[in-house]
């Protein structure tokens, strides 16, 4: 809802995503802060930022597929892997520029996702979750068993650095800008998608797909499109991952990684793009904090031991997901919206 005193006087104004002048200002300020990050933050923070940006792209894709369209997708890491392998192979074998490989990676992942989307037409709920888990395992198996010359097999794929007009983008800040530019484009696109008729079709299918079908929405095609878009985002994220880590191996894209992405959108709030971003930020921040502080804790309190830290993190993460689903299934975004609206209509209670 809008702050009090702000009323739309034209349809154009009503449609706007960024609604008031203050919001525009804050948004621009935030973007400026982000773009200037390498100048005032330490390389470690920039590196964390890199990981967060890539996870954000993948999580936003998952949000569109699972949060908006209600198609449970436990194979997002496999789609990311497909994108990473595509980009890696195109870059190392054919020396394609990243401007080509990243979109192509997205498209190949989207194709893979589309196949699963087609099955989604017939399968619902946890059956679909199972299918996506199967995708995960089949991806693992396929990569390891296809001939080495195709996908690197057990050797993985070494990826050369991305180059732009002869400039190698391999430093942390260079990669940061690469990731940031792509993330900005993809996330802006995501906002556009969910506000379009596709987005509305997604939400309709999520709420009740039989009813949506009765209303004239092509349910099968909508579901397949949801997977396609979600996988496209994952593919782009995977390609950026390949350029960052510079080595693609099948064990970087496991079922647990998929579950992590689900955790991010649950914590942030399902059904909201900003929610996905918040979720990514929080979960990655927790991981980094534990990695940084963990050894110190292990040293300071010796009887706990290092394995406690790992275990605690898993427990914490799992507990977090479960707790959020039980107590606040709409995630932090929902809480934030409640706070925001109660602030806006204060002193009135409703």
């Amino acid at each position: 809802m809008d702050p009090s005193g702000v009323f739309s006087v034209s349809y154009r104004q009503d449609r706007k995503l960024v609604r008031t002048k203050w919001q525009v200002l804050f948004l621009l300020g935030f973007m400026a802060l982000l773009y200037l990050l390498p100048y005032y933050a330490s390389p470690r923070i920039v590196a964390i930022g890199n990981i967060m940006l890539i996870s954000a792209i993948v999580a936003v894709g998952l949000q569109i597929c699972t949060g908006y369209a209600g198609q449970i997708n436990l194979g997002q890491a496999a789609f990311m892997g497909v994108g990473a392998y595509t980009a890696g192979l195109l870059a190392s074998k054919y020396q394609m520029s990243f401007l080509l490989t990243i979109p192509l990676a997205g498209l190949s992942a989207a194709g893979f996702g589309f196949l699963f989307g087609l099955t989604a037409a017939r399968i619902k709920g946890f059956y679909l979750a199972l299918t996506t888990i199967a995708a995960q395992f089949i991806f693992h198996f396929a990569v390891l068993n296809l001939p080495s010359s195709w996908m690197g097999g057990s050797n993985g794929v070494t990826v050369p650095a991305a180059t732009l007009f002869g400039l190698k983008i391999s430093s942390t800040s260079g990669l940061f800008y690469l990731n940031l530019v792509f993330a900005t484009i993809m996330i802006a696109g995501a906002f556009g998608i969910v506000r379009s008729r596709f987005g509305r079709a997604f939400v309709a299918v999520r709420d009740d797909d039989v009813a949506a079908g009765i209303m004239g929405i092509n349910v099968a095609r909508t579901k397949a499109t949801a997977f396609l878009i979600g996988a496209f985002y994952a593919g782009v994220g995977g390609a950026l991952w390949a350029y960052m880590i510079r080595f693609v191996g099948v064990d970087q894209f496991t079922l647990f990684n998929s579950i992590f992405f689900i955790a991010m959108i649950i914590v942030g709030g399902m059904g909201s793009i900003t929610g996905a971003l918040i979720g990514v930020f929080i979960i990655r921040m927790i991981q980094e904090v534990i990695a940084t502080v963990g050894p110190n804790i292990a040293e300071a309190v010796p009887f706990l031991g290092g394995d406690i830290v790992f275990a605690s993190m898993n427990m914490f993460l799992g507990g977090v997901i479960a707790l959020f689903m039980i107590l606040e299934p709409r995630g932090l975004m929902h809480r934030w919206n409640i706070i925001k609206s109660s602030y806006r209509i204060w002193p009135f209670p409703y």
Partner: protein
């Protein structure tokens, strides 16, 4: 002769999968919750057994019943903490909660027991049974028998006894069942208790004489296709489904692996699962639900 051996071995392994899948199905039948964390329940049961036999040093005859009781308790606690509030919530929430439960349990097991590989007690005799040229591992043979007994027993329980029918009613629709005066909470608690106990029995058969680590939970994912194949509500059907999946996997491992030079046996259950999902999502014996809008 070899072929027969592979078939029998595969069938017995399939029956083990069926036992673990039985845990899924019982929980699903009563609470409509698809428990992704079933593999974790198996190793939780395994660790409880390890604890009672190795750490507490109890005799096997004492340790196993104690472990079963302990795992029943664990199942009850998990249900109370995580799932009671989810009665009536959407399928999606339930899936996500069990996924969260999976991570949570894995972390808990790591926290309490550590990542080291532990030996597992030898519950069943190590010497296999020899029928002519055919070799049958004892633990799988006895395990197969236990599976069939459990399947028959639970099937009878759910279809022919009052308490069982009450739980079946809950599986159909929570709201309708509670409006009929059936305690949904009790049914779900009972389901999780039975599910946990079945998982522990499965762990004992699976790991007897071998070693235990938190990675053993992968068997939970291998048992998923069996549950689906049978149809998520059918307990009796699990026996048949288990045998088919087990035999397919065994034959694939024996004959296809050397050709491909890889491990197609591990993926075979998933390929079967995909096939089932595409052709007949409700499985062999599952209920066909009519969705009303």
């Amino acid at each position: 002769m070899d072929f027969l051996n592979y078939v029998i071995n595969g069938a017995l392994i399939g029956l083990l999968y069926a036992l673990i899948a039985m845990g899924f199905v019982v929980i699903y039948r009563a609470s409509k919750v698809f428990n992704f964390a079933q593999g974790e329940l198996v190793i939780l049961g395994g660790f409880i057994v390890w604890y009672t036999t190795f750490e507490l040093g109890l005799n096997l005859w004492l340790a196993i019943p104690l472990s079963l009781v302990a795992s029943a308790l664990a199942g009850y606690v998990i249900e109370k903490v995580f799932l009671t509030k989810l009665i009536g919530e959407s399928v999606f929430s339930m899936v996500m909660v069990t996924v969260g439960l999976l991570i949570f349990l894995r972390g808990l097991i790591l926290l309490v027991f550590g990542p080291a590989v532990r030996p597992f007690p030898i519950v069943f005799p190590l010497r296999p049974l020899f029928i002519g040229d055919i070799l049958i591992p004892m633990n799988l043979l006895i395990g197969g028998g236990i599976t069939i007994v459990c399947a028959v027993g639970l099937s009878w329980f759910f279809n022919k006894t009052r308490p069982g029918l009450r739980m079946t009613a809950v599986a159909e629709d929570h709201v309708v069942a509670s409006s009929m005066g059936i305690s949904v909470k009790h049914s779900i608690a009972a389901a999780w208790i039975i599910g946990a106990v079945l998982s522990t029995i499965g762990a004992i058969i699976f790991l007897s004489g071998k070693s235990l680590t938190f990675l053993a939970s992968d068997i939970g994912f291998a048992a998923l296709p069996v549950a689906l194949f049978a149809g998520l509500e059918s307990i009796g059907g699990l026996v048949l489904a288990g045998i088919i999946v087990g035999v397919a996997q065994g034959l694939a491992t024996a004959y296809l692996d050397p050709i491909i030079g890889g491990s197609i046996g591990t993926v075979m259950p998933f390929i079967i699962m995909l096939g089932i999902l595409l052709i007949r999502p409700t499985g062999l014996f599952g209920w066909r639900t009519i969705e009303r809008v």
